[in-house]
Symmetry: C2
Subunit: 570 residues, 2 copies
């Protein structure tokens, strides 16, 4: 307003006009122009911190740890190292915590540390087409920024590579410029790891167990990453929890792939034509894209009515448009899927068995598919328990046995809910558990959109099915489309929804068969129990009629009992 | 991989090592460092376009128009101009459209046009604490970027201020640098508007009516902005639809406020201390914050054990922390609410009445509240219709009348659903309708979390209530926390959820009273209908007993009928 007032009084010179301007709150185009300015990406995310998963103190704790652990796992796998990850949470004050994440990864070369931890939108994964947990170059810097905003202190990083010495950085983030400011920078003579990285930050937070907690995250991460070992020290028990590795090979590092022609839009294609090193159009298509050989290139160029030897950089918008249309009209094989690293059916089943003592497990894996040129693959697992505390098993001789279910352990209570409650979803993207935003997630949409009544579960319109069950869904992709930078939910692209539904249907059919069989077994068991009740009386009756001994009567009853069991029809 | 191979063979010189490296896909810390790079904010959003509301062609059309119309309305209101907005959609090819949005706003000064339309994170609203539709400086540039990505052509802008000539820009967005490139720049000798801005872009899109359509958006925007006039030309009917203004005053331009002390975190406070022009701590607190006078400043400083005359820039982290804690411990009045511009109960009621022919309308406004230092205000409106095609009204004499409901108009069909379906939500933030992401929205969460059974609607656990009803919710705030940059849903901050629930309860109580009364009226009507059926027989019976004439009998029946109506108890 001060500005506005002085501006008008200068231009007009009249006191009346100045007085009017002061009274009116309205602005002219020139006044508005003076207010325009650039917004730094750090300022933007500081103000919109819920976009990054820092909505509240509890979630901030989870997000900080998640971002650091994701980076640790990625780095270890890229370097072919079996991950050993330490997570510590120390309570400093009622609402302030120090969080430490340390890994045995390859370490970070000194020159890169400040940018990686102190600059938003900086990283190695955004431009590469390969499956990884991180992809945006935002997460870990955002955690540092959040810590600094809430406690005034930036992150402390120690890192050591195989060849170098351990160096230690204390940095502050200049949010106006989105740049790191180094406040401490020294070399350590000794460090307890041969190589690795340690990230320490003080943050405003709240530690609380239960669904969506750090405990939950570590547990689920261990399930999806059986090759990693976690040591976790939570603030309350002061006792460390160790999640040992179940397998001893690092997952194969996924390949990096070139873009697939179907996933590239006209604008992108024009940009690629301008910046390519290829001198001929045919070479451009073969070198810059995957799945384009000489024959396909020729076909595309002919359809676009262009010359194979045209200079890529001289192609005008209309010609590029023709090329773009020609690509869509040409049959090109699907992108290679060596860039994907799914969890695998066996491991999903094992993970579910470890986490919940269910009556039945069903797993399904879809073949790789493509959305917007990005390969992806969907895996699904279902664990289901029949209502009640007992379980009916059919042994190898076909006999029904009733056993008590194991119950009451920490894990079991958590996962398998009651039969009249919605099933619990476990969502994963590139082996990272998604713990929030369930209702806004494409996976949830796909589960709701599946007709579970066909598979023996009851379900209201537009709701999750009911049952004492867990549904696990994993998406492996070179680019996961999250609904926000916090990477908590999957955007409901149609191609993805379709694949998830197909996988759910496949696992669901097996579940349905089991539930139907279970119902038959239960019915037979009930009938049998009823007859069994009367068998002794039948024995006594026969004894009286035939005049046999007590021993013979018992033999007779046992024989009847056994023959009844062996003639069951299931 | 090429890089990795050559790097290792150079360093080691050995062919064996190079061969091994080529076979192993693993990287060293040094190889990883070479892959680190900066990511431009345009590249980031181009790849994550669903974050901005460009998930699919249909939504892209809506988002493009929404961003432009939001800007037009904001500009008109800032300049005190009654908005006249033209929206045109022309179909160019099956999947390509030209979109035009033109306003009579103050226009944009020439130097600012390229940045406003061609640079993400550039604008005037991000740093100002005042209610406006735009807030991020992303939307309109993102629409341009999307158009360019999908059709190869950037936006065309014509703008004219009162004093200047109309100028025309064609721009391209350089996404690697997040900078506009001007490809055409000329002055028009004549233009049909005295002042205003025209934005034209070609995009890949799909036009389809129904829920979440552009038609829907324009209609709802007209409801929430009754001072604006819209002319809308959709591609199918080729006939323009005009939404005339219902009121003739521009809403008062909302005030800009200083930050409230409660909403500032330690990191922010430290930054403010470093950059302030105030020379004393006491002055700093009074000048940089709202609601801090000499007395409050004195109290804060005493609690922090600091000196009133300390130099702000020399305050260390620990002292700043003490100051921060002292602020939380001091009673400071709520921020001024002149920065808010709610729609108003009367206009919400009128809007609902215009949009749906319901039996009952209930409106509630909460007093302004605060989250993270940001003032906000919640308004709620409910329109409800009883099941069936008839309506029971009680006239001024207390008599029940049954009338046919008006049905079948385009608007009515759309909004009030069937009684056994979930109610329809209309969500608004700063007068902008939110058309997507309903399930992930805090408003939805608040509606689900309200006990509607108390107010006569049936509701399953975790679901929206059922009923032939519309619930409108508006949040007015200096900063709306959206769940993504696309501004489609509200982040569920507790303070906001609480206010929405309180407003819903208030409107809900009135609804509940009406539904109960409605049930009594219906019960009485049924009873009466039943008696009415027998009245003629009573008349005949009395005629036979008393021996009266046919005329007397009719009189008698009429009297009985009337007295029955007049003695009803409701």
């Amino acid at each position: 307003m001060e500005n506005a007032k002085s501006w008008i009084s200068t231009r007009s010179g009249g006191k009346l006009v100045a007085a009017l301007a002061a009274k009116s709150k309205h602005l002219t185009a020139e006044q508005m122009a003076a207010k325009q300015r650039e917004i730094s990406v750090s300022e933007f995310f500081a103000k919109n911190r819920h976009l990054l998963g820092f909505d509240n103190p509890r979630k901030a704790l989870l997000t900080t740890i998640k971002e650091a652990v994701d980076n640790s796992l990625d780095a270890c796998e890229e370097a072919g190292i079996l991950p050993e990850i330490l997570v510590e949470i120390h309570q400093l004050e009622e609402d302030r915590f120090r969080v430490v994440i340390e890994d045995n990864g390859p370490g970070i070369v000194k020159a890169q540390v400040p940018n990686i931890f102190g600059k938003l939108l900086y990283g190695s994964k955004f431009h590469s087409r390969r499956q990884s947990r991180g992809q945006q170059g935002i997460g870990i810097s955002a955690a540092g920024l959040y810590g600094q905003m809430t406690t005034g202190k930036g992150p402390l990083i120690v890192s050591k590579t195989k060849r170098g010495k351990a160096h230690r950085f204390q940095i502050q983030l200049d949010s106006t410029k989105n740049k790191p400011v180094i406040t401490k920078d020294d070399e350590l003579d000794e460090w307890h790891l041969k190589h690795g990285t340690r990230f320490e930050i003080n943050i405003e937070a709240r530690y609380q167990r239960g669904k969506g907690s750090v405990d939950d995250y570590i547990k689920q991460t261990a399930v999806a990453n059986p090759h990693a070992r976690f040591v976790y020290r939570a603030p309350v028990d002061e006792e460390e929890r160790v999640y040992d590795r179940a397998v001893k090979d690092v997952p194969e590092r996924a390949d990096e792939i070139k873009p697939h022609p179907y996933g590239v839009e006209l604008g992108e294609l024009m940009k690629m034509l301008r910046t390519t090193n290829s001198r001929w159009l045919s070479g451009f298509l073969q070198e810059e894209f995957c799945r384009v050989g000489p024959k396909v290139a020729k076909e595309i160029i002919a359809k676009a009515k262009l010359g194979e030897r045209s200079y890529p950089s001289r192609i005008a918008r209309e010609e590029a448009d023709a090329l773009y249309r020609a690509i869509q009209d040409t049959k090109i094989s699907a992108p290679p899927t060596t860039c994907l690293s799914p969890i695998g059916e066996e491991r999903i089943r094992e993970g579910l068995m470890k986490e919940c003592d269910a009556d039945f497990y069903s797993v399904a894996t879809r073949p790789p598919a493509v959305y917007r040129g990005n390969p992806f693959q969907i895996e699904v697992g279902i664990a289901w328990s029949k209502p009640g505390d007992d379980r009916l098993d059919v042994d190898e001789k076909g006999r029904i046995r009733k056993t008590k279910k194991k119950r009451g352990t920490f894990d079991t209570e958590d996962l398998l809910g009651n039969a009249d409650e919605p099933v619990r979803l476990l969502r994963f993207a590139n082996r990272v558990p998604l713990l929030s935003q369930q209702s806004g997630c494409g996976f949830t949409k796909a589960v709701i959109g599946t007709a579970w009544k066909n598979y023996g579960l009851s379900q209201s319109k537009g709701a999750l099915p009911l049952g004492s069950a867990v549904i696990l869904i994993h998406m492996a992709s070179v680019w996961v489309p999250f609904t926000s930078e916090a990477k908590e939910a999957i955007a409901p692209y149609n191609e993805i929804l379709k694949e998830v539904k197909l996988a759910l249907q496949e696992a669901g059919r097996k579940l349905g068969a089991h539930i139907r069989k279970n119902k038959r077994v239960a019915a037979e068991f009930e009938k049998r129990t009823y007859i069994e009740k009367y068998l002794p009386h039948v024995g006594i009756g026969l004894q009286e009629i035939l005049g046999i001994s007590d021993e013979d009567r018992e033999d007779l009853v046992n024989t009847l009992h056994e023959s009844m069991e062996n003639t069951r029809k299931i």
